[in-house]
Every structure is written in C-alpha cells, then in structure tokens.
Amino acid sequence: MKVNLEYLETKLESLDGDELKIKDNINSLFHHCVQALTEEHQIKVVNALQTLCALFRGVHQKNKSASGFDIINMLMGFDKAELRMKDLMESMDSLLCGDGSESLKALCLKLLLCLVTVTDNISQNTILEYVMINSIFEAILQILSDVSSRGQHGYDAVVLLALLVNYRKYESVNPYIVKLSIVDDEPTLDGMGMVVGQALTEYNRQYKGKEEDNQGGFFSTLTSMVGSMFIADAEEKLSVQTNEAILLALYEAVHLNRNFITVLAQSHPEIDIPTTPTTPVPTTPTTPLGTTPPSTDMMNSSELPLDPNLQTSNLLITFLKYSSIVMQDTKDEHRLNSARLCLIILTCIAEDQYADAFLHDDNMNFRVNLHRMPMRHRKKAAEKNVPSRPLVCAVLDLMVEFIVTHMMKDFPMDLYMRCVQVIHKLICYQKKCRIRLHYTWRELWSALINLLKFLLSNETVLLAKHNIFHLALLVVNLFNMFITYGDTFLPTSNSYDELYYEIVRMHQVFDNLYCMVLRVSTNAGQWKEPASKVTHSLVNVRAIVNHFNPKIESYAAVNHISQLSEDQVLEVVRSNYDTLTLKLQDGLDQFERYSEQPKEAAFFKELVRSISLNVRKNVSLNTLSQDVLLKEFSTIS
C-alpha cells in the first residue's frame, strides 16, 4: 500500500491539541514502521521509511514550540524511545551497509537528513541524542569508501555527516566529532574528498558556463545549447547559489581530521578518465534524492572527460577556484558566509605543516586559473597563460586578488583580517623552512599598501564599525616580516631592493598612517591602545623612509635629475644599506592559531541553521517524486 505522504504530513499538522489520543496512535505507527524496516519485502521498507519521514516532519511541524522531549514522547513515548530509536538506527545501519537496493539506501539517507534537519537549530533536535548513541558513522564511512555507492549517495552522506558533526558541537562531546577526527583510512577520506571535489567542480563548471553565456559569442551559444540539454532549469537557478553544506563538510574534515590534509593534494586522475560507461546508470530517474547533488552522470556526458587539455586537478585546486568565484561577490549574506568559510578553511590549511609542505613543493606545479572579477581598469582574459607554479602561488594570488577587489564602502573587515592572516601564516612557514618562493611579491606589497591607503581615506566611516588598527597592524607587520627576515625567504637580492623601493615610493601612505595613528593614540579613547601599537610597528618602515628619501633627493640634486627612474632609485637603495639601522621586533613570525571556539561559534551556528533550512527544503522538494521509486519496486517485485 502506498503512503500518502502529503496527506499524512498535513493531517498531522492540522490536528489540534488532542494530543493524548493521537500520541498512542502515532506511537504504534512509529513502532510498526520500525518493525517494518526489517521486513524482506522492499515495498514495505520503502513505505516504512517514508512514513517515518512524514512522522518526524509532521510531528515537528505540529509542535514547533514544544520541547524536544515532548516531541519524542509524542512520536515514540518516553519509555520506549530508547528501544525504538535503537532499533531504527540499527536497521538503518544494516540497510545502508547491506547489499540491498541503491534506492533504499538513498531513501535511508533521505530519512536521516530529514530527521537531522527537522529543527532550525540542529542542537535543539533532541532526537539526535539517540543518533549520537547509536552511531551510524561507520555506515556513512562505508558509503564514502565504496566507489559505486559514493557516486550515488556520497553527496547526501557527506552533508549528513557535516550536519551531525555540528550537533551540540560546543556543549557536549559529540561522538561524530571524535570519530571523524581519528579516521585514517585513506580510501574513505579520499572518497570524502572526491565527493566534495565533485560538488565544487560542478559548481565551478556551472559558473563558468554562466559566465560564458553572459559574454555571448558563438562559443557560448554553442555551450548553452549543449548545456541546456543536460542542465535542468531548476539547476540553472541553483548554480548561482553557493553550496555551503559541502563547504561545511570540507571545513569539518580539514579542521578535525589531520589525515584529510593529504587528501587535499590527492589528485584524481580518474575524473578526467571517461567514466560514462562505468557508472551503472540507475534505472530510477530519481537519483537526485536529498538536496541538490551534482549528478555524476551529467558530468560524464558533458564535455569534461576526454579533454586532453584538462589539467590534472586536486581538491585544493578545485577549492581555490571555487573560492575565487565565491569571493568575487560578497554582497549577499550567503555568499559572504561562503567566502568567510573559504577563508577559514584556507586559514586551517595554511596552519598545517603538511599542507604547507605540499603547497610549497617545487615538484608539484600546477596551473590554477583563478576567476577574476571583471573590473574596468583591468584587462580581462590575460589569465589564460598562468605559469605552472607551486600551489602556494595560487593561494597568494587569491589573497592578493581579494585584497584588491574588496575595498568598498561595505568593508568586509572580517574577511580582510583572515586574508592577511593567511598570508602571514604562509610567510611564517617560508621563513621557518627557508623556502625561497619565486613569487612576484611586488604585487602583494602594492596591494597591501593600497589597502592601507584605503583604510586611511575612509578612516571615519570605517572606524564607526571596525577596529581598523588591528588590520593596519597586521599589514604593517607583514612589511616588517619582509624587512627583517627577508634574507630567509626572498628569492633574489633584487627583491629585497624592490621592497625598499616600493616602500620609499609609497612613503606618503606610511607617513599618513603614522600621523593618523599618532593622532589617535595621543587622544584618549577606545582606539588609543591599538593605535599606539601601530605607531610602534611602523618604526622600521619610517626608518627606511627617513633614511632613503634624503639620499634620493640629494642624488637627484647632484645629478640634476628631476624624476629618478626605478633603476636609479634602486641604485641609491643598494648603495646606502649600510648606514641604515633597523630595530628588531619581537614576535613578527608568531601568530594566533585558529580555534573555532569561542570566536567562530556564533558564525557556525548561524551557518548550520541556514544549511539545515536549505537541506530541509530540498529534501521535501524531492519527497513528491517518491511515487517513481515505488513504481520501481512494484515493477521489480
């Protein structure tokens, strides 16, 4: 018999307060459903799963205000709750791990997603306490480690895992956090990485398609023609929307599991091996259960594989490209959150020794085509010829790109802080390991100076909302790193000269900054302390400016040149080093290590809430199409 889900759900919602009467009915229904899960007849199992889904939803919908315990009572009855949930989780576990129908597994995951997202705030979902006790972690891992099941359910599994990890994250010991942090099985971690990678790749691809559409031209019309054959209208809309759930999963994996770091660098050559004939295309047309998984078959049929020009990619590259897209536009809340999460992930990566090692590995060179915001004063499409470089260059490029493109009224202070910190962490690593990266540092220097300039010119507006001194301090200290430790990580001696050149050239910015911080620090007020720190940090930059400026002027006077060329200035710089004394500053290469709590807790709570809402919406969206699934089973049996 078929379940009329809509009816069940709405009926439950519409029931009025006569709880006691219904409670018994619901309890027994729940009980029967749980029992039915162990049945051999698959239709019964399907029906049971769907009914349970409807029950969870409906009861929550009905009792929005009620406490978690009331809901449990309503669903299963207090006395039996533990037993029922244990049975439920066990049968789910065996369904997920067993050899049964793929559609059943999908439905199981859907039910779990449904259960996890019934409340807006996942931590208030008391039923999850039972999911904590009866862990399905192993089942999720198994799905991820197996190639075929990963292809079909990987997305849902990863999202589910990300959500479960966030259940009462800060309040109690979450077994999923503990377990996730110690996973060291490479195929599993790799599987997880692949699911995330595929989702991000899919996003990048869609974005690129859109971008090309907007640009018009013959090629784009061609791709849109081709594209429209595969991309459904619904997904067209979604392509703009960022995928925070998958990003959260990536974050949790990077943050919690040290072994996952290796996965970041793990390339996946098989992505560009034609996989079309391999994935057993499920006979059910309802593959995209749950949220909006990037359906693999779509990727297969499109132009992705078989392209000899396709670069071997890895998760990190995909992530960097994704970040470059997301960071372009931080105006709406979702994208701002996504950009923030991207930067947090980058922070975690930059702090990890192993990740740094492969970021800087000279033997692992890649071309990373980051997306750049089209800007009026910049030429576009000159980026096709990115040289193949160590990955850290791409990270630095991304940071520079962000710095340059976000100096706006609605200043994303928080993102800037994170961005500068990422750079700082990378430079600390280079200094420590004496890695001389062949990077055009000049771009970074001028970006940072421009940032200082922007802070100065918008001082009053910005000060109303942000502590700009903190950011200024970080930026000045980056310069201090270059000035005092440049010998340990700069690629050439010329680059050290160039650093001085750049500082001297832009000395006005530093002069103005000094005046400003001096002014603020002499006034009593809330900014006195932070401003005075910036004053002190400027000591070396000012020494340089004060040392070389007169020298340059006298050189110009002696040689009767009004405007010195760059080479001439560099010459002056080179010949006057010895008379310059710098002050060694402490702790330049020390940084605050990232910790989620307490600073980021609020952000993640909000993020998880929004993800929950989104997932719930998408799960319900697909509920309607369950008829098809039923049909499949009815035709089989």
Binding site: Y354, R367, K432
Partner: protein, 886 residues
C-alpha cells in the same frame, strides 16, 4: 648432490613402481643395480656396442619418457621438476662422444683441446652423423660410474680425477669432450655455446643437466639466451633447458616472472598462429598460472623430484586453490569485496578483471585490465595478510600498474601535464603500498613501501612517455618469506619533519635541547603525530634567535614593541641584504627548473643528497633497512636490443677486467617485460651532455673546469682520466656494436667525469631512419678531444692506447661476445639483426687476422676518421633541428 644420489634413486624407483607403470622401463634402467655394479672399466667400449643389442629399446625409451613428462608440464596438470633423468642423458651423451672418437680417430681428439672452438666443430660434425646409432649396455655402466665419481669427487682437483680415469680407461679412447665438460674450465659460457651449436640431443641433454651445477647468478646472465633457444630452437634443446628453468621457477618468484616476461618478449616475433601453440607461450602460461610452486620440502633437492611425485605433492595445493576454472575465481571475488580503492577507474573494467582472473587465457593480453590492476594489487596485499599468498600476482599487478601509467601518460600532449598526471597516478599507487612487490632491477631483496610521487619525473622523449620514479624500499632477507612492512600513514612524517627541517642558523644543540620539542619522535606510538607543529613553530622561534632577540614566548602579535623596559635590539639593514645575497650566491650546483625538461633538475641533484632528502620526508625513513631505488619505466619501447647491448657490455667489462685493461664502462640493468615495455636501472649522478650544455651554456671542457676545478687540481685530473677511460671503452663499444643515434642526449656525464652511453636502440645492422648519417666508427667530437687535453696530449695518447688494448683483449675473447649476439638472432625480427650479414660483420670488426701493429694502425685510422667526420656534426645538427637536442 653426491650424497643424495642413492637415496633419490631409491625413492624414484619406489614411486615409479607405485604410480606409473608406463614409464617404469626407462627409469628402471637408471635405478637398476648399476649403482652397486663394480663394472670393469677395462672392458672395451667399442666391442660391446654391437653385441649389446638388448638395451637398445631402453635407449629409444629414454627420450620418450621425458617427452611424456614434458607434455604433462605444458598442460599444467601436474608438477614436474626433473624431466630428464641425468643418467640417461649422460649415457646418451657419452655414447655419442665415443662415436665421435672412433670416427674421427685419435689424432683429432688429441689436438686443439684448449680452444673449445675447434672442439666445437668436431663435435658438431661428428654428432650429426652418428646420433642414430645404437648403444651398448656397457656404456650405461660406464657413464654411471663416471657420474658417480664426479659426484663424489666434486671437491677433488680435476687433474686427479682425470688421472684416475685415465688409469681405468684406455687413454686413446677417452672422451675429450666429456673431459672438457667435466673439467673446471667448463663454464656457463661454454655450456651455452655447446647447447647452441651442438645438434646432438645427448649433448644438449647433458648440458641441460649440467646447468644445475652452475651458480645461479652465472646462469642468470645467459637467461635471455637460454630462453631464446628454448623458444626458437628445436625440440631437443628445449627439452634440455626446460627442467632447469622449471626448477628455478619453482624456487624463485622473481626468476619465474623474469622467465615469463622474457618468454613473452621473445615469442612475440613469431607468427601469431604459431605463437599461441609455441613452447614459449605454453611455458609462460604455466608460470603465470602459478602452478610452479615450491613443492614442499623437496624444493631444495631438485634431482629427487621425479615426474610423479607432484601428483601427491600438489594435490593439497590444488585443493587450496580450487581446480581449473575455479582457480582464478577466488582471487577475483576477493577483489570485489575489497575494492575500496579509488584506483578502480570503472566498474566495467573491474568486471573485466573478474573475467580476466577467471580465464587464464586472457592473461596473455596484458592491457586488458591495466587500470584496475592497482586495485588488484591491493587485493593481493590483503590476500597475503590473510595467509593465502598468491605468489606472482602482486608483483605482476605492480608492474602492470606502472605500465598502465606509462600508457596513459603517452596520450597527454605536454610534459607538464604528463608530470602532473604521473604524480597523481603514483600517489594513488601509494595507497596500495607496502606490498610484496619489488623492483626487479635491484640487487638485493626488498619490499617496496612507498613511491615518493612528487619526485617522479617524465623523461625527454618525443612520443613515448618514459618516466623515472624513485622507490622507497625496505631491505629484507627474502622478499618471498619476510613479512611485508606495515603501512605508515603519510601524515606521520609531520612531527619528525618539522623538527628536522629547522634551518641550522646558528642553533646549537644546547639551544635545541632547551626548547621543548625533543628530537624526532621515531617511536612507534601513535601520539607522535599529534605533536602540534605550529606549536613548535611558535615556541621554537625565540630559541632560534636567542642571540638577537628577547626570548619571551609571545603568542600574539599584539605584544610586539610593547613599551616595557626592554632595550631594543638593532640590526643593520645592510647585514640582511648581505646575508640574502650570500645565501643566494652559492655556485650553480643545481640546474634551473625547466618545465619542458623536468628530468634535468632531478637528475642533477647528487644521489646522496636526494636519498637524504627523501628519507627525511618519508614516514618510513627512520627504519634502518630503508633504501632508495630508482627505475625508469619504459612503455612502448622494445628493450630487447637494450638487453642485448647490456649483456655485451657486461661481457666486455668482464673481459677487460680479466685482461686488466683499465677501461671503464657502465652496463646498466635492463628488465624486459614484453616486446614493448620494460624497465631500466637509471644511472645515478649523471646527466646527459645535452642537458649539461643547455644548462651551463659552455663548452664541455669549461664545464669540467667548473665542476672539478682547474687544470692542475687532483679533482680535475681524476675526472679527466675517468673521462678518457670511459671514452675509450664506449668508443670501442660503439664501433664493435655499431651503436648509432649518438647524439648528446644519449651520452651521459656522471659526477666523476665518466661518460656513459645510453639508448642502444640502434645497434648492429640498424640505424635511425637509414639516412646514412653517422658513418664514422664512433662519436668523437672536438669537445671530447679538448677535455682529453687536445690532440697529441698524453691523455689523448693514453686514450688511443686504451682503445688498442681493449680491442686486443676483446678480440681474444671474441667468442664470448659473438655467442651472446648470435643466439639472440635466432627467430628474432629485431632491427639490429636486419639482413644476413650481422654476425659476419660483427666478427669482422674484431679483425682476427690483423697483427697487433696493424690493429694499432686501425685504431689510429678510426680515431682520425671519427674526428674528421663531418657526419657526426651533421647528425648533431640534425638532432637539434628535429628533437631540440644540443
């Protein structure tokens, strides 16, 4: 051997009687009371022959018995080690020799004993005519006796033996050939030679048995020759060789694989229809079917194994494995259950795999399951752990995955993409390691534990994709029996690396001890990795700079330049700038990174430094038995010629060493896997002259001066001498083997100044594109002469002198060189054997007829000719235009 002889015969008889009545007749003769028969040696041999007609059926039986046994083997139904009874063979052999004696007369027998080559002809001529003659029974007894003697007197000097024998036998009728065979002088080289030249089954069979008495390494050198004879020569030679090969296969996995690969490679020139049913293919299948397992405790005593015992011995083994079709199925099932890995590219491919595994016939087509192979490898690792080791599979899969990578790389257009792809593929391969796999090019037993994938480089090649990988291995006693090392996670390195990587900028041991990061956590506990590396980074920094800055652990940047009472420390900007330029001013010992030539940098790095660096970065680096190996994987290239050249080089090296000619050459190991794939042992600390010139942009002499020091320094002189000695060697080789395609990309220069020629793709009768370039005897450019100190210099004269000595020495042992080449010509379609005059021309180049004075003139002429030769220059120009090789 002597000790076991009686015992084995007893057992033989027993089993014969028990199990196979059909062959009883043949075996019963050898196990007849003859053992204890005090036969009279004085009884003339000849008179007996016509009279003793009774045993003649025995004689006809004796070849029959082995052949039936052979059939059994080739069908793979049971196990056979010893197919030919040594006695029978010996007997037959001796009979023939006697015949020869009688026909040719004493005069011929007594003359020209030492040469071997003359004997050769005698034998060949004699045997052809007399092979069919019947034999006397006295012969058997005699052979028996001699054999017994030889066995028991294995340690006594040959002279005593022969003296005694002379007492017993009529000296005039003594078999000279047999005496040669049994003498100490008789070595593998001669054995191979007789095996090849003799048309007499008896002699062949005897030598087949004699192979058992040589050291393994000695025979291994001639393995390609042996197998090529097995494949391409007539039945009798094959029958003579097979027992030995089967016996060795049973003993060693690596020998089995090597045989199978070589058999495949050398069978490939046959016509496809004959190939399928050829002996070579059958034996290869047999080896791959993994039925040549060591048969219990008897494996050590090959001679005790009769054709019959396997039935009992292997019965349990077969049960364990399943029979026939099932045989392959069980591993495939396991594969599917354990296919957790991502290496499975596709499901359809892995179902392919299933088919492959269950159907032994598909095994010969290697390409089928290339992509899923690495997965299989994993499965086998598991299988090993479970305790049902599938002997050959892990290694085969390992090799297959390496080849698969090469195949896929070839489809990518740019070097950069190839490199990236290579690195990523290898990182996946890493997931399956450690496993019971090894590099066949290595000299010691080991297990591969990790492939440091980021170190791998794609080599310069236009359309193929050869690549060089470094492989971390753990040395072990015996890779077949030692347990496979446990996997250590990649991330385990971190704690150790972060400490080790600290730059030693003035940090003393005390200072380091002061910081609380104690020296590397080599202990096995899993907590090691949880050491917080960034924590170290933060805490250690103040320690590093105790001299210059205040040692306060500040964990936040906020506290810098706080207004406390500490007095500030000043540093001079000039110092920073100076330090920077000083650190960068190091002489260019490394090459620049060039995306189009990624191998240059990798090869230039001194091997020891590379080993050290990779060891530090490896999670297995702390294990004492850790070693680093490297190997070039070639896919799409036929390495059979390389192997041939390598053998000739080895032989020449031995000859020159023996004759004390201080010529230096470096043969490198070649592993032929099929007719279009293989592996090469890279030469460490060497880069091609092309790379040297391109990177240094200076003449070779200047490069020598830069690398080794000025003209008068010890280092330079040593390097120069090395250069001359190697140059002389390779010039000779180039001449003798007619090595062509000698552009600077194919000539390496090692760190000691030796030159090393690589790539022997064009030798003997083949030359690239037949453009008629390179007509000179060898490549001798003016740059080379400059390094040698110019024309007329001492070193240049030394060079010519070495050439002359080398040529004289090589001439003396010409046969050993010719033989290697000649045997390989059999049935070969290799371009180096193109035409009919290959061997004749090769022989001519040894100039047997010239006097030493004439030879000297010849060397002078060749040197002059090569120097004046415009064609060398032209060829370099041609290479530059077509391949960009300088």
């Amino acid at each position: 051997m002597g000790d076991t002889e009686p015992e084995l015969h007893a057992s033989q008889t027993e089993e014969v009687e028990q199990q196979s009545p059909s062959t009883t007749s043949s075996v019963s003769i050898s196990s007849s009371p003859s053992l204890s028969l005090p036969s009279s040696p004085s009884s003339g041999l000849y008179p007996h022959q016509p009279t003793s007609l009774t045993p003649s059926p025995t004689e006809s039986d004796s070849p029959a018995a082995p052949s039936t046994a052979l059939d059994v083997i080739s069908e793979g139904l049971s196990e056979v080690t010893l197919v030919i009874d040594p006695e029978v063979a010996k007997k037959a052999c001796q009979e023939v020799l006697q015949k020869v004696k009688l026909l040719k007369g004493d005069s011929e027998g007594s003359g020209g004993f030492d040469g071997g080559s003359t004997m050769d002809h005698t034998l060949a001529n004699g045997t052809v005519h007399t092979s069919a003659t019947a034999v006397g029974s006295g012969e058997i007894i005699n052979a028996r006796k001699i054999h017994e003697e030889e066995d028991s007197e294995a340690l006594t000097p040959g002279s005593v033996k022969s003296a005694r024998r002379r007492q017993r036998h009529n000296p005039s009728k003594q078999s000279w050939l047999l005496r040669l065979f049994e003498s100490k002088l008789f070595d593998v080289s001669m054995a191979i030679s007789y095996l090849h030249n003799s048309k007499e089954p008896g002699v062949q069979a005897y030598i087949g048995n004699r192979l058992f008495s040589f050291r393994h390494e000695e025979v291994d050198f001639y393995l390609p020759q042996l197998l090529n004879m097995y494949i391409h020569m007539d039945e009798d030679v094959g029958d003579a060789i097979k027992p030995y090969v089967v016996h060795r296969c049973r003993q060693s996995i690596s020998f089995s694989l090597q045989c199978a690969w070589l058999l495949g490679a050398y069978s490939s020139d046959m016509h496809i229809s004959t190939q399928r049913h050829s002996r070579g293919t059958k034996l290869r299948k047999l080896i791959f079917s993994d039925e040549l397992k060591p048969a219990g405790g008897r494996a050590r005593q090959p001679l005790t194994l009769t054709p019959f015992c396997p039935q009992t011995a292997t019965a349990p083994a077969l049960h364990g494995h399943g029979l026939g079709g099932e045989h392959g199925l069980s591993p495939s099932k396991r594969t599917h259950q354990r296919s957790k890995s991502d290496a499975t590219v596709s499901i359809s491919l892995s179902s392919n795999l299933k088919r492959t595994a269950s159907n032994p016939k598909v095994e010969s087509s290697q390409d089928e399951d290339l992509s899923s192979s690495s997965e299989n490898l994993e499965c086998e690792c598991h299988a090993c752990k479970i305790g049902t080791p599938v002997r050959l599979t892990p290694q085969r899969e390992f090799i297959k995955s390496l080849m698969g990578i090469g195949k896929r790389l070839a489809t990518l257009p740019t070097k950069e993409q190839k490199t990236q792809r290579l690195i990523s593929e290898l990182s996946l391969l890493n997931h399956k390691l450690p496993a019971r796999v090894w590099l066949p090019t290595a000299a010691f037993d080991h297990h591969v534990v990790r492939v440091p994938h980021t170190q791998a480089v794609v080599l310069n090649s236009k359309d193929k994709a050869p690549y060089l990988i470094y492989v971390e291995v753990l040395e072990c006693e015996d890779f077949e029996t030692s347990s496979v090392p446990v996997r250590i996670s990649e991330t385990r390195i971190r704690s150790t690396r972060s400490v080790e990587n600290l730059p030693d900028c003035g940090i003393t041991a005390d200072q380091r001890a002061g910081s609380f990061s104690t020296v590397p956590n080599y202990d096995e506990d899993n907590e090691a990795w949880s050491v917080d590396d960034i924590g170290e980074l933060q805490v250690e920094h103040p320690e590093l700079h105790t001299n210059s800055c205040d040692n306060i652990s500040q964990f936040s940047v906020d506290s810098i330049t706080s207004l406390d009472s500490k007095e500030p420390i000043f540093i001079a900007a000039g110092d920073i700038r100076r330090r920077l330029s000083e650190q960068l001013a190091h002489p260019p010992t490394t090459f620049r990174r060039d995306p189009e030539d990624p191998s240059a940098v990798a090869l230039k790095e001194p091997w020891q430094e590379k080993v050290q660096r990779i060891r530090e970065g490896s999670p297995y680096g702390h294990i004492p038995t850790w070693r680093l190996l490297s190997v070039i994987v070639k896919c799409g290239d036929d390495l059979r010629q390389e192997l041939l050249a390598s053998q000739v080089l080895q032989q020449l090296q031995i000859i020159w060493e023996q004759e004390r000619v201080p010529i230096w050459i470096k043969p490198y190991k070649i592993l032929v896997i099929s007719s279009d794939s293989g592996m090469i042992e890279p030469i460490v600390n060497a880069v091609s002259i092309h790379q040297v010139k391109k990177q240094s942009q200076m003449p070779l002499l200047d490069y020598f001066l830069q690398e080794h020091g000025s003209y008068t320094t010890e280092a330079f002189l040593t390097a120069q001498r090395n250069f001359v000695q190697s140059c002389a060697g390779y010039c000779l080789i180039c001449y003798l083997l007619q090595v062509k395609d000698r552009h600077n990309g194919n000539i390496l220069l090692d760190a000691d100044g030796h030159i090393i020629h690589i790539d022997f793709g064009f030798i003997l009768s083949s030359s690239p594109r037949n453009l008629g370039f390179e007509t000179s005897a060898f490549k001798l450019t003016s740059e080379f002469v400059d390094v040698m100190g110019g024309l007329g210099g001492d070193m240049f004269n030394y060079y010519k002198m070495l050439m002359l000595q080398g040529l004289i020495a090589a001439r003396k042992h010409m046969d050993k060189v010719i033989q290697i080449v000649e045997i390989m010509q059999q049935g070969s379609q290799l371009p180096c054997f193109h035409g009919s005059s290959t061997i004749r021309s090769l022989k001519e180049r040894f100039h047997m007829s010239l006097t030493e004075e004439q030879l000297q003139v010849l060397v002078e002429q060749m040197v002059d000719g090569s120097m004046r030769s415009l064609t060398t220059k032209l060829y370099d120009g041609f290479q530059y235009l077509t391949n960009g090789i300088m």
